[in-house]
Symmetry: C3
Subunit: 474 residues, 3 copies
Amino acid sequence: MTTNKHSLLDPNRLFPADSASREIAIQLYNTIKDRPIISPHGHTDPSWFANNECFTDATKLLLVPDHYLFRMLYSQGISMSSLGVPRVDGGAVETDMRKIWHCLAENYHLFRGTPSSMWMDHVFYEVFGLNELFSPATADSFYDHISAQLQTDAYRPRALLDRFNIELIATTEGAIDELPHHRAIAGTEWAKRVITTFRPDDAIDPSREDFIDNVARLGELTGEDTTTWTGYLDAMRARRATFREHGATATDHGHPTAATADLSRSECEALFSKCLSGHSTAAEQELFRAQMLTEMAGMSLEDGMVMQIHAGARRNVNQQVFEQFGRDKGADVPSSTNYLDGLIPLLNKYGNETKLNIILFTLDETTYSRELAPLAGHFPCLKLGPPWWFHDSPEGMLRFRQQATESAGFYNTVGFNDDTRAFLSIPARHDVARRMDCRFLATLVAEGRLRLHEAEELAPALAYDFAKQGYKLS
Amino acid sequence: MTTNKHSLLDPNRLFPADSASREIAIQLYNTIKDRPIISPHGHTDPSWFANNECFTDATKLLLVPDHYLFRMLYSQGISMSSLGVPRVDGGAVETDMRKIWHCLAENYHLFRGTPSSMWMDHVFYEVFGLNELFSPATADSFYDHISAQLQTDAYRPRALLDRFNIELIATTEGAIDELPHHRAIAGTEWAKRVITTFRPDDAIDPSREDFIDNVARLGELTGEDTTTWTGYLDAMRARRATFREHGATATDHGHPTAATADLSRSECEALFSKCLSGHSTAAEQELFRAQMLTEMAGMSLEDGMVMQIHAGARRNVNQQVFEQFGRDKGADVPSSTNYLDGLIPLLNKYGNETKLNIILFTLDETTYSRELAPLAGHFPCLKLGPPWWFHDSPEGMLRFRQQATESAGFYNTVGFNDDTRAFLSIPARHDVARRMDCRFLATLVAEGRLRLHEAEELAPALAYDFAKQGYKLS
Amino acid sequence: MTTNKHSLLDPNRLFPADSASREIAIQLYNTIKDRPIISPHGHTDPSWFANNECFTDATKLLLVPDHYLFRMLYSQGISMSSLGVPRVDGGAVETDMRKIWHCLAENYHLFRGTPSSMWMDHVFYEVFGLNELFSPATADSFYDHISAQLQTDAYRPRALLDRFNIELIATTEGAIDELPHHRAIAGTEWAKRVITTFRPDDAIDPSREDFIDNVARLGELTGEDTTTWTGYLDAMRARRATFREHGATATDHGHPTAATADLSRSECEALFSKCLSGHSTAAEQELFRAQMLTEMAGMSLEDGMVMQIHAGARRNVNQQVFEQFGRDKGADVPSSTNYLDGLIPLLNKYGNETKLNIILFTLDETTYSRELAPLAGHFPCLKLGPPWWFHDSPEGMLRFRQQATESAGFYNTVGFNDDTRAFLSIPARHDVARRMDCRFLATLVAEGRLRLHEAEELAPALAYDFAKQGYKLS
């Protein structure tokens, strides 16, 4: 079945249905749709850009690494093994990539109304130029077409960076990562385009099974004595400097809560020792993470790195899936998050620093209007990140703008983050964000709440400038 | 005053105002508006269908049992007694049904903008064919017309089941209910159409004043020794089997929180003894309810019954009204509910069972996008029930779809529940749900977020198929 | 640059973009836009109306007292001192009012999409008749024009009350305020138009540094022995009586939480002594505030005053700003608020009193549909105040109606409060509320959820009547 182009990808998708707003949205969108992409926070694999090797096939590229896709399939009774997700124990899982691809095609209706289908459709029809609907009937031809194109030079990672008009992309690496792929491109033109981000959770979160080893490794990497509090902090400073050498302008912190703390030096020393002993309680681990957010803010004030806080994800909540398949397999759930009480210790110490830049993300949408926008609309150091993870979707984006703008304004936000490991979906994700922002602006204009020339200034700011400024990339 | 039909009941009510979306909504609605009604969860009285006697009058049928109506009247200073609500002490209350009906007419404006007026209007103009606006001026003629019609065969309960095109309706009975009305129709064609649901709260919730008696009665009914934990569980199993003989495919659990537990056998035995002693603390009662949700999930896995969890209602919060008029008099208020922490013990035990079906309901709308949709979008055993109680309304339905769909999709939902004891409002309630779902789908189509043929497949699924599948009725 | 009138202030601003709803909104708005303004709760300075002196200049009138404006400027790194906000230590701050005005002009884009720009634009173009866009280029001419007009009789406070069509305005004074300005107008025609409100937080909240002094002063003012619990309560009664002599029909209570309590007399006496000792704990202070809400409800039942509860603001959370610039400098943040558990003690005592009027306000929007509307839709003593503070905005108003109406109806609400100290913005704020309510009603009509004649009755009720009735002003 061949369908007309319109039904594959509506050129006016996501714009309001009423014609008055829609026309303004189209007009705004046309002025910004071709702006370069700034991707200041994400999880693509830097080896792709360092090695520039061809991707292998449709399934391995598009399905296996995408926990949005397999979480939904899993929710309908399809096993992880049958989707080729590797087992921790190395046990057998499905290896027939074409068969897995068919499973996706047979269940593609599950994604109706979700952003995954919008992203995948964009990949199919825009990136690969397919011109039929994805279905069990077309699964083979899609698989063959995509896998064949992936072997061509035009679909190598660097060529795609060009084609996607990605001006800059930041990857994310842990505190003890030696940055081999960023080292490989150091000194080349690519080093300005592919930068790293310092995400030290692995050496900050004492609840991790590998925390003690990671702190030891941190010492080895930096030559600091990380068995002492001072040495540990200096090792962090050293690693931040190394990351900056590889382009990093930001740190990132994924914590289960937004708790911060401001302990005395002796309290810090005792707490750090306890955590290193391997006998810390959950409350001590939480307090240590809390203290470290404040320490990281202090270091950001020293070295100018932008600090991102991604708080409130309860990760790997499915014990059986965690034991069999490991971390990050779609069993992550947002939790109620208290930013106000959480952030006060940090804000009391650094909240009025105009040179400090902290970007807040939330998975608890109730905090947009209740806590985050009022906080960002007052404290000089705070800005709001875009809707994150489960809320990185048309309705989620609309709720963010509707609930945050009136107290925080637009100028306390930092543009869009794709936050993805699904490289081919990056243009789709930025396009959704650009369309939704133009839609929001267009509605304000159509309702006489914003002047057209103001919307025309804001559209490129939201699509491009704020990301560069907010992450100090300009 | 006679008004034209349009002002009585807009044929395009609830559809979006803009013409592009509206036309699609109408088109979708026309394909599903005449589908039979599946009512898999509700509180109609099974004696109606067993005895098929005429209802008596407008007030007793439409007002007295409807706590949505008298809660609002009460909020404006109208006493329960004057509305004919029976007192616990048998004291005098208003018995002039016509006078009570007039009180409703004089205060009918209070319901503007609420679903009650939409449901009542549907009953007036569609079910009873009235053709004037309800007002003090027409109250008498409405009362006479309705009361007269109720004496005709066309308005007997079974005739209305036919006229309303209700294919199946489930009532809800407690653990110690002997199901006399379901027994009365056993073996007849009606037994396939009117089924029961197992709601064992009365023998599970130790905070009830009648818990100990109910557990004893449970033993008598089943011949099990319900003074022991094992006997108690076996008695539950026996009653589940009896309910299944009367058509039940589901259990239902109305708990104040979503807490679950997974205690050892000896802990369970000790806790059960404590609860039976009549000296349990509130925390022990909560823990017992929590443990019983997990036990019920285990039994569902054994016997295949679908498990519904209705969590988060704080019931009978008005102490004076409770003392004078008893339970369920409109003094129920939703409370903040933590599904994530609550459900983890149960999910750790059974969450990955693909043959287990748990349907979650909430009164805390903040959990749609933060907890429920992410949970249902991962765990194979979980599905989301429709908006419940205070949120079973046009705006409530819209928020549910807008907030749950992007993470859970449509296919982790189970269609509509009317959940009502107001029999005559059942068509109105399903019609509102169908219109709102068509509206939501139409908006997605108009905005290029869903293809028309996909919406055409989803509309009947949401209106009919998902309820049958989700409750194993097919 | 002169622009046409349309781009300065869209006559159809805030109405829905689609023409069907928009036309109904315009039609409704035209019937109520010229109704007099009832301002039953706010913070204007009564000396303005008593003395009727000219305001001095644009900056001192429009910017310095408006924490909405300087909080946003501060969030972007502009210091309080440079905005002329007085320091606690009397240290130097910017005194060049024209320079501060320029700072506002240069940063006016920050307010795009916020209600502040809508209010300011209304002041510029409607109140002062300016006909250019506000910008750095026009800042001087705006400043000169406004400052000059302020020196004319037409811009004196009383003339503005007339011009703004303000039928009645309530100011807000503390428990130990001697009401000099209200005394000054006593017996004149202005006393009926400018009334006070009793806000006793200063003598009720033991966490305040001046609590003990204030309680002592309360004794002096009333001749009661406020070192005893009984004398303290009698002093409150006396002050309520004095406030009523100056027009007050309402009390107001700004508490950090919605907690209420119902302690025994001996517990109250002990708690009061502890609080007066200066050694109370935070928990005891909270309990005292909680008990006092119940006491105040009891007094309202005695004297008929309407009781307002503004719960959930965490005030002055920026420690450094508080130390340098004092209270109420924009560092206030909403917090998660539990009305259900909080109010139960009070409701168990007085909830069913049909002569008691308690108006609830919230900064936690999640409580609209979860707690507040269900409570107000049952308890005779409860009504819902309009969206407050951060939520007093177009989107905030829409969320309030969308989330509260279906459970509470319209008739359990009390119209609009401007709640402002920015006198010149009062017409703008009421106009926004009137437009948004007409918009909400129009959408219901366009979607067949409300009849036009019902909307035509509701529009003036929401704009005018409900405020008079809800505050017993009629």
